[in-house]
Amino acid sequence: MKCPALSVKNLSIRFDDSSGRRQVVDRVSFSINAGEATGLVGESGCGKTMLSLAIFGLLPSTGVYVESDGIEINGHDISTLSAKQKRAVLGRDIAMIFQQPGTALDPVFTIGQQISAVYRRHNPGDKTKTRQAMLDALEDVGFGELEEIAASYPHQLSGGMRQLAMIAMATVCKPAVIIADEPTTALDSSTRLMILQQLERLRTKYQTAILLISHDLTVVRQSCSDVMVMYCGRLLEKTDCQSLFTRARHPYSAGLLSCIPQIGNSRPDGINAIPGQVPAATDLPRGCHFAPRCNRAESACRQSVPDFHYENGKGVACFRPL
C-alpha cells in the first residue's frame, strides 16, 4: 500500500504565556495523497495558519508546545528532525505559499535571484543548471517574458504576478507537498482563477499533494477534491467537496455555506450570517466549541466534546449532525 504524501497524526498546538493557556490546535489528524488537493476552511482565528506553520516547523520554540504522533512526508517523519536536518527537507520535499506575496518576497532581490536561492540550497553548484531550473519554474506557472520577469523586483509586478512568482519559488525543487495558505485572498476574481488554474496544472503535472488553506469555500470548491472544516482548533467535518456542497453534515459547515453570496437572477431577500463570533482561544466554551452559535445545540453539546465519527471516509464531529 502506498503511503500518503502528507500525513499528520494527532497534532496539537498550545500557547502558554502571560495571557494564559491557549489550545490553538486540538488533536488534528489528516492525510493527503500524491496528486490530490485538500482544502482546509474555517473563519479567521480558528487555527488554520497555526496548523500549517506547525507542519512546516516555523513556530517559535518558546511558549509554544507542539505535540504530535508524527508529521510524515512520503512516510518520513519530519516532526523529530533537528532544525538543521529540517532545512534539507523544507523547500525540497515540502514548500509553502504564503498569503501576502508582497511581504513574503524580499524587496531588495530580483525574482530570479530569490527563486535561484531556493534551488541552489538543495542543488549546489552548476550555475547554468540553476538558471535553467529558475526559468523553467517561471515558465511552469505561466509567465511569458521569462528573462524580464526574472530580472524584475517584487514591486514591479502586480499582486497576481507576485503570487505566481511565489508559486514558482515553491515549485522550483518539485516538492511532494505544497501548503498554500490563503493564496488568493485579496486578489480579484479573474486573477484568483488564474492562480488556481496554475496550481491545478502543477498538481497534475508533478503529482504534488496540495493543502489549500482558505476561508473562502468557493476557492476550495474550484480546486480541491476533499475538504476539512476547522473551528477553534478542532476539525469538525472532513468529506469530499461534492458532499460538502450538496449535503453538509455539521451545522457550522452549513452555516459557512449559507454565508456565500449567491449570484442569481433576482436579488436575494436577506443575507444569511452565522450569529456571534469566534470565541477567543483563552476563553473557549465547554463541550462543542460551536455550541453557543449553533441553532441545533442541546444540553449534551454544552457538556462534552463530540467525537469524530467516520463513515465511508467521511467524518463529522457533532452530536446532532444535519
Binding site: E43, S44, G45, G142, F143, G144, E145, E148, I149, S152, L157, S158, G159, M161, L164, T185, A186, L187, D188, S189, S190, T191, R192, L193, M194, L196, Q197, Q198, E200, R201, H215, D216, L217, T218, R221, Q222, S223, C241, G255, L256, C259, I260, P261, Q262, I263, G264, N265, S266, R267, P268, G270, I271, N272, A273, I274, Q277, V278
Partner: protein, 334 residues
C-alpha cells in the same frame, strides 16, 4: 420621445465625463466616466484591480484632483467648491476603506476615533456628541463599553463596524465603500452586509459600493457599473445585469464568479502588465485585445455608449453598453 424621463430634482451624485491622468509614467486612470446615484439607492462598481474603481472614489471626495469632468453633489460641482463649501459637502459624503486595521489609528481609543469627525465638522455640544456616538454604536451593533478600548482589541469584523460608525456619525447621505468587505471572512462579511442592508433600508443612505466580488454586489446593489481599464463599459440595473449582461467583459466577469468547478487550464502565456499608457489610447475598444466576440471594427473605432432598448423600457430602466455588438447600424440582427 424615447428619451429618459427628466428628474425634477438633480440626483444625489452625478459624475460627468470624469478623466484622470497620472504623469510619469503617463497613464490614463479614469477615462470619461459618467454615472449618477439617486438618493437612497446603491450603485455597485465592479471590475478587476487596476480598473480605476478606487481612483473614482477618491476623486469624488476630491482626495485626487481629476483632469477633466464634473462631480455634482445635489447639482453642485464638488470640483469647483471653495474649501468651506467642500468641507460642508464632505460631511455628507463619507468613505469606508478596505482594511479596517489600517484605517483606524492604533493610538486612539474608539471614543477618540468617533469623536474626531464631530469635532472636525463642529457638530453639537459635548453632550450631544456623546449621545450621537452612543446612538451610532447602537446602529452598527456595538455596546457603549467599547469606547475606552483600542482598535487592536477588536476582531476585523468589529473593526470594520467601528470604521462604519466613524463614517456614520456625521449623518452622511452617501457612503462610499471601497472594497469594504473584501478583507473579511465570508461569515464576517455576511454580518457586515447585513449591517449595510439595515443602513440602506432604515436610514435611507445611498451607497457607492466598490467591489470585485459579484456575489457581494448581488446582495446589495440596485444598479451596476462595470469598469475596465478606466472606462465604464456597461451600466444597468442589477436585475438586468445579472439576467442579461451585455458587454463581453461583463459576461467574462460573471463566468469567473460562477462557483462551478472544474478549472480548465488555459494555454495563454502571461505578459508583464504595464497599465494603460497614452499611446494605448488609440480610438479602439479597450477590451478588444481580450474579447472573445471581437469583430474587425472593434480594433478600428472606439465604441460609443449604446442604449439597449427593452419592450418595457420604463420598468427595465436604462441599460447602457460600450460595445460595437450593440450598435444597430452595424449589427442588424440584434
Amino acid at each position: 420621445m424615447n428619451s429618459p424621463m427628466q428628474q425634477p430634482s438633480p440626483p444625489l451624485l452625478e459624475i460627468r465625463d470624469l478623466s484622470l491622468r497620472f504623469q510619469k509614467p503617463e497613464r490614463l486612470i479614469i477615462d470619461r466616466v459618467s454615472f449618477s446615484i439617486e438618493a437612497g439607492s446603491t450603485l455597485g462598481v465592479v471590475g478587476a484591480s487596476g480598473a480605476g474603481k478606487s481612483s473614482i472614489a477618491r476623486t469624488i471626495m476630491r482626495l485626487i484632483e481629476p483632469d477633466e469632468g464634473k462631480v455634482l453633489f445635489k447639482g453642485e460641482d464638488i470640483l469647483q467648491m471653495d474649501p468651506r463649501q467642500l468641507m460642508a459637502t464632505r460631511q455628507r459624503i463619507q468613505l469606508v476603506f478596505q482594511e479596517p486595521s489600517a484605517s483606524l489609528s492604533p493610538r486612539r481609543s474608539i471614543q477618540q476615533i468617533l469623536l474626531e469627525p464631530l469635532q472636525h465638522f463642529s457638530i453639537g455640544n459635548a453632550e450631544q456628541r456623546q449621545e450621537k456616538i452612543l446612538q451610532t454604536l447602537q446602529t452598527v451593533g456595538l455596546d457603549g463599553d467599547v469606547l475606552r478600548r483600542y482598535p487592536h482589541q477588536f476582531s476585523s469584523g468589529q473593526q470594520q463596524r467601528i470604521a462604519i460608525a466613524r463614517a456614520l456619525v456625521t449623518d452622511p447621505e452617501l457612503l462610499i465603500a471601497d472594497e469594504a468587505v473584501a478583507s473579511l471572512d465570508v461569515s464576517i462579511q455576511a454580518q457586515i452586509l447585513q449591517l449595510i442592508q439595515t443602513l440602506q433600508k432604515d436610514h435611507g443612505i445611498a451607497f457607492l459600493f466598490i467591489s470585485h466580488d459579484l456575489g457581494v454586489i448581488r446582495q446589495i446593489a440596485d444598479d451596476i457599473a462595470v469598469t475596465y481599464r478606466g472606462q465604464l463599459v456597461e451600466q444597468s440595473s442589477a436585475d438586468q445585469f445579472f439576467s442579461a449582461a451585455a458587454h463581453p467583459y461583463s459576461k467574462a466577469l460573471l463566468s469567473f464568479a460562477s462557483h462551478k468547478p472544474p478549472l480548465q487550464p488555459k494555454g495563454n502565456r502571461l505578459r508583464l502588465g504595464r497599465g494603460r499608457t497614452e499611446s494605448d489610447k488609440a480610438p479602439v475598444c479597450v477590451f478588444a485585445r481580450h474579447c472573445p466576440e471581437k469583430v474587425p471594427v472593434c480594433e478600428q473605432v472606439e465604441p460609443a455608449d449604446h442604449v439597449i432598448r427593452y419592450r418595457n423600457q420604463h420598468k427595465a430602466g436604462r441599460h447602457c453598453v460600450k460595445c460595437h455588438l450593440y450598435n444597430k447600424v452595424n449589427n442588424h440582427d440584434f
